[in-house]
Symmetry: D2
Subunit: 108 residues, 4 copies
């Protein structure tokens, strides 16, 4: 696998994990109402990253379009989680922005 | 596709939809804390049903084992949503129990 | 669910099934070499349709972008399967083009 | 995440990649008829591993049952790819058996 795709695969995998860990932690909070947007977007982001990781590793002919969409959804998830001070939100946001960048390197 | 598999495919598809609609509605409630278990299990159930629908339609050699797991997760989701009086929770629970039955017909 | 989204959900579900049935039948042929492109694109298409059905039913904020990508992949799968005279290829192609149209109605 | 779950998450991710790379390479062979079983099981295995990685990272209440099924499908994929001498089949088989072991550590 070319280096850029491998980096993107790894970023998707790390973001899948960070998003799902954030999702789980948000649901355990006493007041999940404050975190609705995080809950919704971390699921969105985890599913998108899993889909992108599948596409990259099976050499999908649509890998560029899929990474373009993944970049967009990772960005949105980063912006939803970034304003929250919980460790897991911060980790998720940081990972999302990094994954968006790795995805942009594929379709740019 | 044999009748029982087709019925199970359709039940999975209907439960994927009912679970996701319940998930979305729960997140829109003013007090999602009361619905944490629904939120978690409707996602679990929707993902399991999508996985089972894929397996049934591609004639997976593991369709029986996958349907056995799907029955278990649908049951759990039905029990999580059943006690809530919202229309979408009731619809989801009813659909989940029906899907569990359709799945049991495959591996029984 | 609005009518257009419901129609698109159903089209995705029918195409998931037709694509996977075509994939399975192609793999059972004595000469799958002639059908490589079908095998690859039916998997691509089934996975995309499952992803879109999930997105539609959970009211994803990215449903338009996801349907746009789904339309593109369905078109490609229809063009890969269309030239083959097997019943399952013809059914798949017809279903793919119909799904592409239903997806375009979402983001148009 | 506890060490055993983290090891299992990583094994699923590595097996998702090895399976999909094997699937892609099998489809590029001049005689894919010899590799039908690999093609079918590598897809089965990649999808199962992606599903398991999602379940592990979102702390699914069904992680043990999902890992039990994942172990079974990884074993089957390893046995399908093992007899073939292509590098990618050998890599895939080795990775599958390692993932099956990591999964068994979760539900044992």
């Amino acid at each position: 696998m070319p280096n850029e795709l491998l980096a993107c695969y790894q970023a998707c995998i790390d973001t899948l994990r960070a998003s799902n860990e954030c999702y789980d932690a948000c649901l355990l909070e006493t007041n999940p109402a404050e975190l609705k947007e995080c809950i919704r977007l971390t699921r969105e982001c985890a599913d998108m990253c899993a889909f992108a990781a599948q596409a990259i590793s099976r050499k999908s002919p649509y890998v560029e379009q899929i990474c373009a969409l993944c970049a967009q959804i990772c960005e949105a998830c980063g912006h939803a989680c970034g304003p929250h001070q919980h460790d897991y939100c911060q980790r998720c946001a940081k990972q999302c922005f990094q994954c968006a960048e790795a995805c942009r390197a594929i379709f740019a």
